[in-house]
Subunit: 157 residues, 2 copies
DNA sequence: CTGCAAGTTCAAGTGCACTTCAGGTCAAGC
DNA sequence: GCTTGACCTGAAGTGCACTTGAACTTGCAG
């Protein structure tokens, strides 16, 4: 174990962040995090990368894609270590997003009550199965909830 | 257009269900729906398959995987056309599911309020980025919301 | 100085839910 | 009978977010 320095090894990062080493490499390749290298080529992470990873995980839990997360991270100030206020600023937008997601689900639930009552599940009338209502409003074809929760709403494949 | 019979062509099904023909073929291959064939090998669907498709779409909107949907459809009575009551029975379980999803999101939102207040996003303390709280409870590694909403909670790939 | 856990790269694989493509066949209207 | 749009199959491709594997190198403890 590395001790005296403030740079963290991959192993330490996986232990502290819960992300697999392969995920860290992937995020680096995608430009979400960065790392310096030893002379031998091994990665060394600055401590503040942990906060970035916490942000990534939180954003994922809210349903953002890595693309969106990258974009959000890009709005952090360059040159200096982000302050708590910086983090708060870029995550503030999530609130509205979550509200929308919650509302969508509540609508689904209430529609479901109706459908269970009548057993209809009609293509034309049912609020939860109608492609023109919940699904097709957000794209074409089969739109699953996860995509419904994304800003980026293209159809699959 | 086919008219006098009660069997529907693929084209009619895509028009009425909103699913692409390729999706219908896929569902058939996966055993979610069935179709008879003309002597020439073309698919002909019975009208009640539309209801099955409505069910599939509704279940997708709630966040079920095709596997789960297939399992649910398997609980329909064999031999006779399902009644509204049959449909109601198998979709009743969705209510609890939706409630849970809503609750999870509300918890996320309220946690977010706290995090925005303090700007913390700490791996150890933050309620929305802590892997031991929202994410790791449901699996290992990076668990996104979509998976959080699935019953089947294995990690990716 | 050596041993070996921990690190490296790059390519390919995974799972889901489909879509797209190529190359051919069917069926309904004229 | 012919045309033409709808349909067929099987294989391969897509997008995301990673993981896995193979073959190799680093770096710290003893």
């Amino acid at each position: 174990m590395l001790t005296g320095t403030d740079l963290l090894t991959v192993g330490q990062m996986t232990a502290r962040s819960g992300f697999a080493a392969s995920a860290l490499r992937y995020y680096e390749a995608e430009g979400l995090i960065s790392a310096s290298r030893t002379t031998g080529g091994q990665r060394r992470y600055e401590r503040h990368i942990l906060r970035r990873l916490a942000f990534i995980r939180a954003a994922q839990n809210i349903g953002l894609s890595l693309e969106e997360i990258k974009e959000a991270l890009g709005r952090l100030p360059e040159g200096r270590t982000p302050t708590p206020a910086d983090w708060a600023k870029i995550s503030r937008a999530w609130r509205g997003r979550l509200e929308q997601e919650i509302e969508a689900l509540v609508r689904l639930r209430d529609g479901l009550e109706q459908c269970i009552g009548c057993g209809c599940l009609s293509m034309k009338r049912c609020r939860i199965s109608n492609p023109d209502d919940v699904a097709a409003r957000y794209g074409s074809g089969a739109v699953t909830l996860p995509e419904l929760l994304r800003e980026d709403r293209r159809a699959h494949g």
